[in-house]
């Protein structure tokens, strides 16, 4: 499973693999700033349900997006393994929640398949690619699309 050499190959990017429920997802390591254990955020009024609130990250107020809710899944109870992945998106810092972080893998561009066009379902919208690995399927999350749309926030 753990493929250290793989992580240092030149081609392709490194991705952080994490779980939401039983599903495996990954995110480009370059967009990750740090991974923190789960802390209960302060809720924001009138915000979309998937915005769980804000936490204090060394003095900065960082919003937390519950990836499970964002992806249209049922969020699991937060456990000791639950994490917040702090991502840098543009000049914004956003925390993404996941049930557990498992691995760092280097994935070559050639191994990434485009997500199949299923329907106009929004859940698919956040996936920028799929990676098949042994019996596993890992979906690549595009952090840019996770970002709560400002207009959407106001509308909600």
């Amino acid at each position: 499973m753990r493929d250290i050499e793989n992580a240092f190959t030149k081609n392709g990017n490194e991705f952080v693999i994490f779980f939401i429920g039983e599903n495996e997802y990954c995110i480009d390591i370059m967009s990750l700033r740090e991974i923190r254990s789960w802390t209960a955020p302060t809720s924001l009024p009138d915000s979309p349900a998937y915005v769980r609130g804000v936490i204090n990250l060394r003095g900065a107020v960082v919003p937390i997006v519950d990836l499970a809710l964002r992806l249209g899944l049922t969020p699991a109870e937060k456990t000791e393994r639950s994490v917040i992945m702090i991502t840098n998106i543009g000049d914004q810092m956003i925390g993404l929640s996941a049930d557990a972080v498992s691995d760092i893998l280097s994935i070559e561009q050639a191994d990434i398949q485009a997500p199949p066009q299923m329907s106009a379902q929004t859940d698919n919208y956040f996936i920028s690619g799929l990676v098949a690995m042994e019996n596993r399927m890992i979906s690549i999350i595009d952090p840019l699309r996770i970002l709560p749309d400002k207009n959407e926030t106001v509308a909600a």
Binding site: P41, T42, S43, L44, P45, D46, S47, V51, G53, V54, I55, N56, R58, G59, A60, V61, V62, P63, Q92, M93, I94, P148, K150, T153, V154
Partner: protein, 757 residues
């Protein structure tokens, strides 16, 4: 090109300081409090601007400042006697110079006709013939008050071979005699220096007579081989300067007692010069290794000395530019080089300002943020310690107390970095006073009080517009014409006082005038005629005064060019409230009016009341809270299924349930005994907010939500509590605004229509 641009920016920044100096100097002179120093300093300011402008080929600026400078020079050399008219003209010129600098900075074209008249007046004042144009680059400095002291510093750390005496003989024939007393410490030998080598080098400089002093030498059996027992007296006859001698001792100067005295008190040639003396002395004191030479043939790269301070900078520049072996001794060497420059200055800078540096505001903000983090962390640590039940140990308690104190001190110091005196802002107002008085044909002078009060920089910036408006108002509406003033037994010249002070954790800024005061009859009838109040309304004096703050109010019937451009005191009030301040009026008929602005010390912190709303902590800004109540259930009445009012001592106020408003309701009913906060909005309307409990009242550090997220309805910002959690700061005006539409729609609409009318 970029580099040039950045130098230019520095020049404009310096211009700001210089213009300020110029204006304050002129005001001092006008008030008859000036001394020769003031005239020198105003002259220097204009001269420096001219010099810098010349370097950047800002011809308009150069020619104006040249004319200006000539008048000042006449004044300085007493060819011209200063009187009020002249100082008025000079102040006007200083304003124009200000505009010129601003135009040059913003790359705007300057309409020379605007200043032509002034330029003419200046020329008639000046005795000098200023025909022809001024060529900025070849402008000489002969008329300037002090001679430039050329002192390029060469920083060669004795890595090159010593110049042979023969060569030196050619250029400087005079021979000096130095007595050197030299006593090495044992540390010198530990570092591997040898006395023999030093003596040999001395010998290369000229004739030496070396006497070894062995008084301290102990008997052979007591001798410590690591100790130093010997000292030397050397008489050296050389054509070299003292610096060359010092150069030999460069590396050992910290490890010995060295005293070099010159037998000939007079130093005959140019190369020696008094600088050598100064440097020599400072060497003996500072013991810093360095070699320097003075060479009048090597000119300074800038030949435009502005002040002793600038000169020092020039020297530092020169020192850095020379291809010297720069190591960490550089800074100490430079520091010493700078000292003689200051002590040999010809300009007296008695009140030398404390040294300052310009820092990017972003860095300061980052520091403030980090200190805020430290404060929170310290609170968390205290919590952990008490949780771990280590709080009983007296050591832990005392160390923790010290830590707390230290954190608080650091926080205060960091906050102080952002704080700046209001003086520059206040001084800018003197121009407003001059212009306003001129265009209204009134006589006014500005009196500043407490201008050294320090206020957060952001607040200072935001205060400029409201203050300008208030000062104009004070002159336009407050002060009477000179005739009227004389008739009522006042001095024809009115006074506008601008004062700043710290008062119980707030900054109080007052704008007062000794004019006629508010004509309350007129104000009331005007408000009635404009439909702002009902004719039968009974108002007390304060209420009438406060009518001035209503939108769409203007006391002067005809709109003057100054104030009353449709923007009234309501705009001022809104601006001040927008950064957490309050404004009030105090007026006495016949004696004048006083506007008092009270501001928070900083925009980074806010006094808030922490209330609990559906298990969330919400911060309510203390400035908007009037009172807190524990209502009886019978005080609360439903007026519709979704709206409630509360009876507070007989009057009804709309009641807003915060939990409902903020969508925090978790399905559970609000607590059986809620608390109610009475708040007042910016427009003076009162509302009651219902929350579950009051937790605390304290200062909170304001954190933006917009950096990483966006605007949240009804929430102004966030803050971090002592336990590291985030609490939201409520935006009272937004909370009630969305409610107000439902409750007070007709009234709102009416006011709006009036405001637009």
């Amino acid at each position: 090109m970029d580099e040039m641009e950045s130098i230019k920016q520095t020049f404009f920044q310096e211009c700001e300081d210089l213009l300020r100096e110029l204006e304050s100097g002129l005001i001092l002179l006008k008030d008859g409090q000036g001394d020769p120093d003031s005239i020198d300093s105003v002259f220097r300011a204009v001269h420096s601007i001219k010099g810098g402008a010349g370097a950047f080929s800002l011809t308009e600026l150069v020619s104006f400042s040249h004319t200006f400078e000539n008048v000042l020079d006449d004044l300085r050399s007493s060819k011209l006697d200063g009187n009020d008219d002249i100082y008025e003209t000079l102040l006007e010129s200083s304003d124009t110079l200000n505009d010129l600098v601003a135009a040059a900075r913003d790359n705007q074209d300057w309409d020379s006709s605007a200043s032509a008249d002034l330029l003419e007046r200046l020329k008639t004042l000046s005795s000098k013939d200023i025909s022809g144009t001024v060529n900025p680059s070849v402008e000489d400095d002969n008329d300037f008050g002090f001679e430039p002291v050329g002192m390029p510093i060469e920083l060669d750390f004795a890595f090159e071979p010593i110049t042979s005496p023969l060569q030196m003989q050619d250029s400087t024939p005079s021979i000096l005699e130095f007595s050197i007393s030299f006593k090495p410490f044992s540390s010198m030998f530990e570092k591997g220096h040898s006395v023999t080598r030093l003596m040999r080098h001395l010998k290369e400089l000229g004739d030496v007579d070396i006497i070894c002093k062995s008084e301290e030498l102990v008997g052979l059996k007591d001798i410590d081989p690591g100790e130093s027992y010997l000292a030397w007296d050397i008489t050296l006859k050389t054509s070299e300067s003292r610096a060359s001698i010092l150069e030999i001792f460069d590396f050992v100067v910290d490890d010995c007692e060295l005293n070099i005295t010159s037998a000939n008190t007079e130093i005959s040639n140019a190369e020696g010069s008094s600088l050598d003396h100064l440097l020599g002395t400072s060497f003996a004191l500072e013991k810093a290794p360095m070699r320097e030479e003075t060479d009048k043939d090597a000119p300074l790269s800038f030949n435009n000395p502005q002040s002793a301070k600038n000169l020092t900078e020039v020297n530092l520049e020169t020192g850095k530019n020379s291809d010297s072996a720069l190591d960490n001794t550089e800074s100490s060497a430079l520091a010493i080089a700078a000292k003689p420059a200051i002590s040999s200055k010809a300009v007296d800078t008695k009140k030398a300002p404390p040294a300052t540096i310009r820092i990017n505001l972003e860095r300061v903000d980052r520091l403030i943020n980090q200190v805020g983090e430290l404060v929170i962390n310290q609170a968390m640590l205290s919590q952990c310690i008490s949780d771990a039940e280590m709080g009983q140990s007296p050591e832990v308690v005392s160390v923790l107390d010290e830590f707390k104190q230290l954190t608080r001190d650091i926080q205060d110091s960091v906050m102080a970095i952002r704080a700046q005196p209001v003086q520059p802002l206040f001084q800018r107002m003197s121009r407003i006073v001059r212009e306003a008085a001129q265009s209204t044909n009134k006589k006014a002078k500005l009196v500043l009080e407490g201008e050294f009060t320090e206020v957060d920089k952001t607040i200072i910036e935001k205060l400029a517009d409201p203050l300008t408006h208030m000062i104009r108002n004070a002159i336009d509406h407050g002060l009477e014409t000179p005739e009227k003033r004389s008739a009522s037994g006042k001095s024809p010249e009115g006074t506008v006082t601008l004062s700043a002070a710290h008062r119980s954790g707030k900054i109080i800024i007052e704008v007062s005038d000794n004019g006629a005061g508010i004509n309350r009859e007129k104000v009331k009838s005007l408000a009635i005629s404009k439909g702002l109040i009902a004719p039968e309304t009974i108002l007390n004096d304060t209420e009438i005064d406060n009518l001035l703050f209503l939108p769409g109010f203007s006391t002067v019937d005809k709109v003057s060019t100054l104030s009353g451009r449709g923007v009234g005191m309501d705009v001022v009030k809104r601006a001040i409230q927008s950064f957490g301040g309050r404004i009030s009026i105090n007026s006495e008929p016949g004696a004048g009016s006083k506007f008092t602005i009270s501001l928070p010390l900083t925009l980074a912190v806010l006094d808030g009341m922490l209330v609990e709303v559906s298990e969330q902590t919400i911060v309510i800004p203390l400035t908007s809270i009037i009172e807190t109540l524990l209502p009886k259930p019978s005080d609360i009445h439903d007026i519709s299924p979704s709206e409630q009012v509360i009876n507070v001592r007989g009057s009804f106020m709309p009641l807003i349930n915060l939990a409902k408003k903020l969508n925090f309701e978790n399905g559970q009913d609000s607590k059986s005994n809620p608390i109610v906060l009475c708040v007042e909005t910016e427009d003076g309307k009162k509302y009651a907010l219902m929350a579950d409990a009051i937790q605390d009242q304290r200062q909170v550090v304001i954190k933006s939500l917009e950096d990483n997220y966006g605007q949240v309805p009804c929430i102004a910002a966030a803050t971090i509590l002592g336990d590291g959690r985030i609490a939201l700061i409520a935006d009272i005006d937004e909370i009630v605004r969305s409610d107000a539409v439902l409750l007070t729609q007709p009234a709102e609409l009416k006011t709006l229509e009036l405001a637009h009318a």
